[in-house]
């Protein structure tokens, strides 16, 4: 084993975290770098220069410690390192690396703070820095919150630049040429006389060199990858059926399994009768797992078929059994004792509404539970053998999976090996590790053989942690053709409370997600108030692409649209008049120009709607055009403009934005989870459709790069999609729809 890199234990402090919170946490704890997690695992011939760069005889492997769920995390993080390290694109290899606190996400906590993204005040800046410090201390290696790019941007480039300096230093030692005379090109250090020394031949030497205290990063005009279209590293595999996902894992001697647990989430299993299942072809054994049972068989199909033959006696649901009861409970949440936040309270809403000359406009909005339903059903492979546990699964929360595995097996972390996999979608689903826990429990009964546990689609959809249902009460007033007052009260169960409860992590204080996408919108409405109410927990809930803003964006923007209509103003012009943030005005102006905006009415049964949501720091505006056809409403075109500071990969960016728009539109059109007898009524894609190809509109995307903060784009285009569509339907039909999905009230072609 090569331990030449001992000194790298002093691994670089990639100083992207300000230490405003250092006093509270202890300066040392915040500043002290995490150990390089690659070091204890080095194989002979391998060397590591920092937690992100591993070199062996074959070349450089870049550790990309954010889960690739289709958003392109691995490619963009690798590009950041390769840009500074001077690697040829075709030579890049990536790995998730081991789970480690060193790979903490410094940005993921920012959205949980009660500061609007447009707030650049002292408190807001310090709180964001403090959130980053907290994330570092807690070792939050999390993929989520559209943070991969902003969190990685400095850190990954610095990792590449530092490694490059160490390789140059090593080459200087080997050749005797002065450092300043050495350059790098495509994985080699190049001497003035044109001699090229491969990084692989310098790696051992470089690993013994102290990391530089300072690095100089390239300026954007020197970039060869970033900012340019690049071919995603996984695109060939994903176009040829050769990409291996968790569900494709194949190991010698592997068994196959499936698990069924109580479809009333959190309910117990009183008992089960498995004698029929046990006698079915290929079945090895039926094992009890938390909340249900698993079948181990020689093929997945045989396991799934046998599992259907188990008679379960499920316990009752620990929440209201039917959707109607859930709505009733939710609508009773607007009480003083359940008030969770009032982050916005401008002017005097009560007085304004009491004095409103033209009366008060009132409305109630609601949005349903939604499943993540990534196309790859949840699965995980596990092997417990000789005191060592290996797990192959795709997860956004590797450190939590480690803790779960430790709890279930009693093993120490050094004997647990998590091999994170490419995900066939996630949309937030893999922020939960329930399916991995099930696979570990099954593997514990498999006598050392690896077991691949795959859920049926029905198990997947009935055992999601959905986006919570939410309801809002809106009041408002207009005066002199303008929006004058808006009072929005939002109630939903708390996602962070539900998530925190599952990992025994108290989440003190208000849950910003209950009001995200509503309280923090950049509109200077004179009397403007947003209040959050924390409903009693019902179904366990979790983060769903764009989280709180996903429903609040609809409820806030559609009611704003109602007020604008009541004022007799133009939907786009009035939003622009109210908008007090220049970057946000920019995206509204852009969609106006792109769509040739001339008002909502387009004639001939056609109409357009505009909507705006600021979420995850990204101002996003969308214009949707719809037309009435004989077979129903058709979405013709979408124009979307987003402000992200800087686009690093234009192709993937375009794909992400369009995908987010389709995600938002498709779920708004026809998706909901409803409950009966404690169970979801939707179990598969026959009753949970989303958008189909023939329904996909023409989508035009424009990225604005006026801001000075780099932002992630996976989630922000989602929230304005639903309200833009609903507003367009109002323009085309005169029908104001205040609930999702919209096909409860209109039909789509």
């Amino acid at each position: 084993m090569s331990r030449a890199g001992k000194i790298t234990r002093r691994a670089l402090l990639f100083g992207t975290v300000a230490v405003a919170g250092g006093v509270a946490l202890g300066y040392y704890v915040v500043q002290h770098p995490h150990d390089n997690p690659l070091e204890p695992r080095l194989e002979p011939g391998e060397a590591t220069l920092n937690p992100y760069v591993l070199i062996d005889a074959e070349g450089v492997t870049i550790i990309t410690p954010r889960t690739d769920m289709g958003q392109g995390a691995h490619s963009i993080l690798a590009a950041m390192v390769a840009e500074e390290l001077d690697l040829a694109w075709s030579d890049i290899r990536v790995s998730d690396g081991p789970p480690s606190a060193a790979y903490y996400n410094a940005k993921v906590a920012a959205e949980a703070l009660p500061f609007a993204a447009t707030d650049d005040g002292f408190l807001a800046r310090n709180a964001r820095a403090f959130g980053g410090s907290m994330a570092k201390v807690l070792g939050l290696q999390v993929t989520g919150g559209s943070t991969t790019v902003p969190d990685g941007f400095d850190r990954m480039r610095m990792a590449g630049a530092a490694a490059r300096q160490m390789l140059i230093e090593a080459a200087a030692e080997v050749t005797g040429v002065a450092r300043a005379d050495l350059d790098t090109r495509d994985g080699h250090v190049v001497t003035p006389d044109g001699k090229a020394i491969a990084y692989v031949d310098l790696a051992q030497q470089a690993a013994g060199i102290a990391p530089p205290d300072e690095v100089t990063l390239k300026s954007p005009d020197q970039w060869r990858y970033l900012g340019q279209p690049m071919e995603r590293l996984d695109i060939v595999a994903k176009s040829t059926g050769t990409q291996v996902y968790g569900i494709d894992i194949d190991l010698p001697d592997m068994l196959h399994a499936t698990v069924r647990t109580n479809p009333r989430r959190g309910g117990v299993v009183r008992g089960y009768e498995a004698s029929r299942a046990e006698k079915m072809p290929g079945v090895k054994t039926v094992v009890s797992v938390t909340g249900g049972a698993g079948v181990i068989a020689d093929t997945t199909w045989r396991a799934m078929r046998a599992a259907q033959e188990i008679d379960f006696d499920w316990g009752e649901a620990p929440y209201p059994a039917d959707s109607a009861q859930m709505w009733t409970q939710l609508e009773a949440s607007f009480t003083e004792s359940l008030q969770d936040s009032r982050f916005r309270d401008d002017g005097d809403v009560e007085a304004a509404l009491a004095q409103a000359a033209d009366g008060v406009l009132e409305a109630q909005y609601r949005v349903p539970y939604l499943a993540h339903a990534p196309l790859e059903p949840m699965n995980a492979t596990a092997r417990l053998k000789d005191g060592r546990l290996d797990i192959w699964a795709s997860t956004q929360i590797p450190m939590y999976v480690m803790a779960t595995a430790k709890r279930l097996t009693g093993l120490e972390a050094e004997n647990i090996h998590l091999h994170n996999q490419y995900a066939g979608g996630s949309f937030g689903r893999r922020l939960e590790d329930d399916f991995i826990a099930g696979a570990i429990e099954v593997a514990m009964a498999a006598e050392g053989r690896p077991v691949k546990m795959t859920w049926t689609r029905e198990e997947d959809m009935s055992h999601d942690f959905p986006r919570p249902m939410a309801v809002s009460r809106a009041r408002g007033a207009v005066a002199n053709g303008q929006v004058a007052a808006l009072d929005l009260s939002l109630a939903s169960p708390s996602v962070s409370q539900s998530q925190g409860g599952r990992v025994n992590q108290p989440m003190p204080g208000p849950d910003v997600m209950i009001v995200a996408g509503a309280w923090d919108q950049p509109f200077a409405i004179p009397d403007y108030r947003v209040t959050g109410y924390r409903a009693q927990p019902m179904v366990p809930v979790s983060s769903w692409r764009s989280v709180g803003a996903s429903g609040n964006g609809f409820m806030h923007d559609c009611f704003l649209d109602e007020l604008i209509h009541a004022a007799g103003a133009d939907p786009l012009q009035e939003r622009l008049r109210l908008c007090d943030d220049p970057l946000s005005r920019g995206v509204l102006e852009a969609v106006g120009e792109m769509s040739g905006w001339s008002g909502p009415d387009m004639g001939d049964g056609r109409g357009r709607g505009v909507a705006f949501t600021l979420s995850f720091g990204v101002a996003a505006a969308e214009v949707v055009e719809v037309s009435q056809t004989d077979s129903g409403l058709r979405i013709d075109k979408v124009f979307v403009a987003v402000e992200v500071g800087r686009v690093l990969d234009p192709v993937n960016f375009d794909n992400q934005v369009k995908g987010a728009v389709i995600w938002g539109l498709g779920h708004a059109m026809n998706c909901e989870l409803t409950y009966r007898d404690g169970m979801t009524e939707q179990r598969n894609f026959d009753s949970y459709q989303g958008m189909r190809l023939y329904q996909a509109p023409h989508i035009e995307v424009r990225a604005l790069e006026n801001g000075d903060t780099l932002r992630g784009i996976g989630e922000p285009p989602v929230p304005p999609a639903a309200p833009a569509l609903a507003n367009a339907i109002f323009a085309a039909t005169g029908k104001r729809i205040r609930e999702l999905p919209l096909n409860r009230q209109v039909s789509f072609a």
């Binding site: 995603r232 176009s239 059926g241 494709d248 196309l375 995908g659 728009v661 995600w663 598969n684």
Partner: protein, 156 residues
């Protein structure tokens, strides 16, 4: 014993005749490019060609396949030498998570075998049974057109 061909090679099996082709491909033949998404012919991730027609392999029981010809994504090309539809998918960088794309590509290939120059309506009709949760539809449309071009060039 049931006999049919997969990607040109003869296969024999004595598995239960009601075993879905999907799971025979994945678990027995280890051809994992064909994906399980729903099991009820609603998502199209398991699309293969059965005697030339795009077919949901989750709904085909192997007992009904005696003498049949099955073609999967693995037969369309390789990473080193992708087929024309795969090449178009690469050029347009269609995939996000990529999980549905084997099925999309197989549906597109079947369409193009029948309709060398499809219009958008024909593409919509042929591929709307293939669900993409990531929302890559605009790129899929463009890639099918590009694949048609590539196939015409190849044919010349």
């Amino acid at each position: 014993m049931i006999r049919f061909t997969v990607n040109g090679a003869q296969v024999e099996t004595d598995l239960e005749p009601d075993t879905p082709l999907l799971w025979f491909l994945r678990d027995t033949l280890k051809l994992t490019g064909t994906k399980y998404g729903c099991g009820i012919a609603q998502c199209g991730a398991c699309t293969v060609h059965l005697d030339g027609f795009a077919t949901r392999s989750c709904q085909m029981q192997i007992g009904d396949l005696e003498g049949a010809e099955v073609i999967t994504i693995e037969h369309q090309g390789t990473p080193e030498a992708p087929g024309p539809v795969q090449q178009a998918w690469i050029e347009h960088q269609v995939a996000q998570c990529g999980y549905c794309q084997s099925g999309q590509i197989m549906a597109a290939a079947a369409l193009l075998a029948e309709v060398p120059a499809p219009d958008d309506t024909q593409i919509d009709d042929a591929l709307s049974g293939n669900l993409c949760r990531c929302g890559t539809y605009p790129r899929i449309r463009a890639a099918v057109q590009r694949a048609a071009e590539l196939m015409r060039e190849e044919g010349q």
